[in-house]
Structures are given as structure tokens and as C-alpha cells.
């Protein structure tokens, strides 16, 4: 059996633009790459019944989420000729306007990066055991549901 290290996609708190810039900059030495596709999820200050969302508090079944993500990663690498794939998801309280999801794919030509990125976002939302609790500005809450 191969020894496999499961990658941790979780970060505590919001994903900063500086972190994203650093991740992009690291690819400058990978000169076989011709196209990068990025998706970022940002917390909306939605108004629901007259109350505004202050942020979302994310929790996850971390061990299961990481093994699910590992299987998804393998399937995506088999399906698309990618050079790189990076996924980061926030845990804890993320305020409106902050970034909670960062998906980053790279390939020699643009199409595989774009298609893999889209598929990853769909699968992350549908298949990873992560839950978002919308915290309103008056400290009440409701649980988010992906539809």
C-alpha cells in the first residue's frame, strides 16, 4: 500500500487576499502552466426578514471531509490534465465581505483548469460535510442550506 498524506483543506478564519497572492506567486516557476482558474466564495451580508447576516460560522466533520476531498482530488486529477489543484475552506466565524472558499486549478491550456475548477466547486458544496451557521447582527442565527 502506498503511504498517503491527506492534505488539510481547512484554515481557521477567513482566507486573506495576501494568502491568495502568495499561492498565485508560487506558480511562477511552473512554466508548463498556461492557464489558472480560481473560484472564491465570499460571505454575503444578506437581509433575511429584516435582519442582516453579520457572518457565517463554519464547522465540519473534519476527518470525513478530508477523506472525501482526497477522493474528489484523485478523481479530478484522473479526469483533467491538471498541473496543480489547491482547495482551502474556512472554519470558524467569517464576517460578511471575507473569503471562505478558495479553489485554484492550473493546466497547460485553459479548458481543463476552468472545467476542473467548476466541478470542484460543485462537488465541495454537495459532498463535503461542512455546515454554515448564519449569524445575524442581533446574534440570532439560522443554519444555511446549499440548494
Amino acid at each position: 500500500m502506498s503511504e498517503k498524506k491527506i492534505k488539510n483543506i481547512f484554515v481557521n478564519g477567513a482566507i486573506s487576499p495576501a494568502f491568495i497572492a502568495d499561492s498565485i506567486a508560487k506558480h511562477a516557476t511552473k512554466t508548463a502552466i498556461g492557464g489558472h482558474s480560481i473560484f472564491m466564495g465570499q460571505i454575503r451580508r444578506d437581509e433575511i426578514n429584516g435582519k442582516f447576516v453579520a457572518g457565517i460560522d463554519y464547522t465540519a466533520y473534519e476527518e470525513l471531509a478530508l477523506s472525501q476531498m482526497d477522493a474528489i482530488r484523485e478523481e479530478i486529477f484522473l479526469k483533467y490534465p491538471l498541473n496543480c489543484m489547491h482547495v482551502h475552506h474556512s472554519l470558524g466565524m467569517i464576517s460578511a465581505g471575507e473569503i471562505c472558499l478558495f479553489v485554484f486549478t492550473s493546466s497547460a491550456h485553459r479548458k481543463p483548469a476552468i472545467e476542473a475548477c467548476n466541478e470542484l466547486v460543485e462537488r465541495i458544496k454537495a459532498e463535503l460535510p461542512i455546515w454554515g451557521k448564519e449569524i445575524f447582527e442581533d446574534d440570532t442565527h439560522q443554519w444555511k442550506e446549499n440548494i
Partner: protein, 81 residues
């Protein structure tokens, strides 16, 4: 013959608001369908909710037998991303 089984129950999302992390010792439960009935009797808030189980970190798609010391997760619909 009565069967006794110890299970560890964990829960997430809105279900964690009424089912806490706990060890249960139950009888006459040998598979996940029976466990669901047991849970819905013990925690009526579950009735009518959509939820999935994972046993020892494997998502359960159809009925599956349980064994002593299994760790069962009760999960409402996901909302990551």
C-alpha cells in the same frame, strides 16, 4: 435473546443543537435503519428532517449492519462553500 450494543453518537450543524456527543447503549438495534428509528423516537426533532449517517467515517447510502463500538455521525444537509 436481547442484543446490547454500545455506540458513540456525534452530530453536526443544526442537529448538534439537540443531540449532543454521547455514548449510547441500546438493544435490538443491529443496523442503521433500526438506529434511525431509535434516534427518531429518542429525538423527535429529527422526524421530517433530512439527515445522513456516517459510520466510522463512511457515508451510509443504504442500510448497513452495525457492530459494537461503532462511531455514528448524524449529519444534516451540507452547506459548505
Amino acid at each position: 435473546m436481547e442484543m446490547n450494543m454500545k455506540l458513540e453518537i456525534i452530530s453536526f450543524g443544526k442537529i448538534s443543537e439537540f443531540i449532543g456527543h454521547q455514548q449510547v447503549e441500546i438493544s435490538n438495534v443491529t443496523d442503521t435503519d433500526q438506529l434511525k428509528s431509535y434516534l427518531e423516537t429518542s429525538f423527535p426533532e429529527l422526524v421530517g428532517m433530512k439527515y445522513k449517517l456516517a459510520v466510522n467515517q463512511n457515508m451510509i447510502q443504504s442500510n448497513q449492519s452495525l457492530k459494537n463500538e461503532d462511531k455514528v455521525a448524524i449529519m444534516p444537509p451540507f452547506s459548505g462553500g
